[in-house]
């Protein structure tokens, strides 16, 4: 009962549960990451801001204290250059020059007075002006031509000049990017593992449920002695199995009781029947041609009829209680119907009844062969008893909606209104005293017990119609085309 194909697996509850669990894992890890990312990003910014504010102050002190002579720019540049080397956790840059820090000093008119850094100081100044920012708090500046923004701190000197110190955010972004990459990898692993573990656990659990279902359906079909597997654990599923098995125990004992009763009824009646029949036969042997002989023969025939009624009644009783002992196997329905039709055809012809059989395909039904023989014989006996001479019976064997079907139609009088409601009850009899008796009750009970259905109706053009369906045998050739066979 394990799901064999891949597509079936996607329709299992285990798959659905695992999908939801995977989604939950993904959401959870995403939330954790977002807060972690924010925390790390804030922390890095706080550190670089602290460094920038401190350094820009130092640089402004140096700028103020250094005399404005020829060596002024060399000294300030040197200090700025040194500061750039103190950038915390700085990565080795791809270019040999310093491109992660810049120092910019403007004069009172706002012109570039001193520029230390890569590129042109003018563009940086423009970008700083465009940002229209003036507070002492460091801010992000985007510079044209540079891929990453700069974090810039500024300080004004007493002479109205401005000193800017910028730190490229390249390193910060790099740290955050590698953090994201790691997160994606770790997140994928967590979600993957979570999915697999949940899938494995639910699959295992649901397989037990599946075993239980399989066992229960097997039991439903025939084998009442089987029990559903019980896991050692005392969890919900263990409890389910135990409860189910307890229920099966009770059903089995009820069935066993019914079997005991029907068996002992059969035994208690059959033994004296055997003795009586045997004695009658012995008497017949010595008295074969007299009038007494005739009576003995008719007594023997009555006994056989009694025995048939007994057997059929017990079968109907067991079938109605779903306690029929079945030995189902794949049987080609058309072939069985054909050999029975051939068996009955001379008797029907004798009564001036015609019968034709049409087999649309080879139809393999999963049935008890002996019961199927009796079922079809009952249908034929029933036709012979209930339709007037000159009538025609047609039988069609076909695969119908995943079932093996026999369609019996005749052009007789059809079922009387008062009979139809209780057609399949044992001993229902029509106004025409012949009655349907046990025959159709047997057909109905035995078909149902084998997992099939019987439907009776009257044809609009007159006559009765019985549709008997039986479960198809699952096999490679459960229905294959066949040429029509017409009999009689």
């Amino acid at each position: 009962m394990s799901s064999g194909t891949g597509t079936e697996r996607f329709h299992t509850a285990a798959w659905r549960i695992s999908m939801w669990a995977g989604a939950a894992f993904a959401c959870g890890t995403l939330l954790v990451f977002i807060s972690l990312h924010r925390f790390v990003a804030d922390d890095i910014q706080r550190r670089s801001d602290a460094w920038l504010t401190g350094e820009v102050q130092v640089l402004s002190d140096v700028a103020e204290e250094t005399p404005r002579d020829r060596r002024y720019s060399a000294v300030v540049s040197e200090v700025a250059e040194l500061a750039s080397r103190e950038v915390p956790n700085r990565l080795r840059s791809s270019s040999p020059t310093n491109d992660s820090v810049f120092f910019l000093q403007t004069d009172e008119q706002g012109h570039v007075e001193l520029w230390v850094g890569a590129g042109d100081g003018g563009t940086f100044l423009q970008a700083i002006r465009a940002a229209r920012w003036q507070s002492d708090v460091p801010a992000d500046i985007r510079v044209q031509g540079s891929g990453v923004p700069f974090r810039v701190a500024s300080v004004s000197t007493e002479d109205g000049a401005h000193i800017y110190l910028g730190l490229s955010e390249r390193d910060e972004l790099h740290v955050l990017r590698s953090l994201r990459m790691r997160f994606i990898a770790i997140g994928a692993i967590i979600v993957g593992f979570g999915f697999l573990i949940v899938f494995a656990a639910t699959w295992r659990m649901l397989r037990q449920v599946q075993h239980i279902t399989a066992a229960a359906s097997r039991i439903g079909q025939s084998d009442i002695r089987t029990r559903v597997p019980v896991s050692g654990r005392h969890d919900e599923i263990g409890l389910l199995s135990t409860t189910l098995n307890g229920m099966l125990d009770r059903i089995e004992s009820a069935m066993h009781q019914l079997h005991t009763i029907t068996d002992s009824v059969a035994h208690d009646l059959r033994s004296p029947l055997t003795a009586v029949r045997g004695k009658l036969e012995l008497a017949l042997a010595s008295d074969v041609d007299s009038e007494a002989g005739e009576q003995i023969v008719s007594a023997i025939e009555e006994l056989d009829r009694l025995n048939r009624v007994l057997t059929t009644s017990l079968d109907v009783a067991e079938a109605d209680a779903n306690a029929l002992r079945l030995r189902c196997e794949p049987v080609e329905l058309g072939a069985v119907v054909q050999s029975l039709v051939e068996l009955y055809e001379p008797s029907m012809a004798e009564r001036n009844l015609r019968i034709s059989l049409r087999r649309e395909a080879l139809v393999y039904a999963l049935v008890d062969p002996a019961l199927l023989h009796r079922l079809i014989a009952n249908l034929l006996d029933n036709e012979m008893k209930h339709i007037p001479t000159g009538s025609h019976v047609s039988v069609l064997v076909q695969g119908l909606e995943g079932q093996a079907a026999m369609v019996w139609e005749d052009d007789g009088p059809g079922f009387g209104e008062e009979v139809r409601a209780q057609l399949f009850e044992a001993r229902a009899k029509g106004s025409r005293s012949a009655g349907y008796g046990l025959g159709l009750a047997f057909v109905h009970a035995v078909t149902r017990a084998q997992g099939g259905t019987v439907m009776a109706s009257n044809r609009p053009e007159g006559g009765a119609r019985l549709v008997v369906t039986l479960p198809l045998a699952h096999g490679p050739q459960s229905s294959a085309p066949l040429r029509d066979v017409i009999l009689a």
Binding site: T274, A275, G278, E281, A285, I296, L303, L340, R374, N378
Partner: protein, 226 residues
Amino acid sequence: MRVLLIEDEAEIQDFLSRSLTEAGYELDVAPDAATGERLALAQPHDALIVDLGLPDMDGIALILRLRRLGVSCPVLILSARRSVDDRVRGLEQGGDDYLVKPFALAELLARLRNLLRRSIQPPPETTRLRVRDLELDLLRREVHLSGETLDLTHQEFALLEYLCRNAGRVVTRSMILEEVWGMKFQPETNVVDVHIYRLRGKLDTPEREPMIRTLRGVGYVFRDRD
């Protein structure tokens, strides 16, 4: 031929003893499994007839026990049970036979005879059957009566073949149904009789006695001599 009958019902035991003795068998009778076992081991028998519902032991258990003790003769199982036990099916496959109560005496005798014949030698594979002036060619599926070819359907041929193979012996309707049509049930209507009538119509001529004799309440005999 010595047969051991193990059956607890006195009435059944009684008429079976009478008819088996009349049929010419030497008979030992046991009313229970213990006596049956003792008798079976005391001297060899050609066949056993065992009822499954014995008072002291299950019939199948007794048969299996006797088999283990070296009793190898064929067994005819009698049962009033409704379902056929798997073990009975096993025995059936092993060459034993099974008869449901109530049975026709003729059928019991016929089955017993078959069992005994099978245990002595398997029937020779013949391609031709001859009974008096009737000749069946089993390969070409042709029938000749006094040199004239008869036109039979395949069912009629199968029925005639079965009757000829058992010529001179009683065959019952249920035996015919089982052997010719492969079905184990008793139909409510006289379907087998009508097949016999049809066959008779093709075989018989007004100037001679019918070849198939009806034993009313019992079955049919195909006459093997005039």
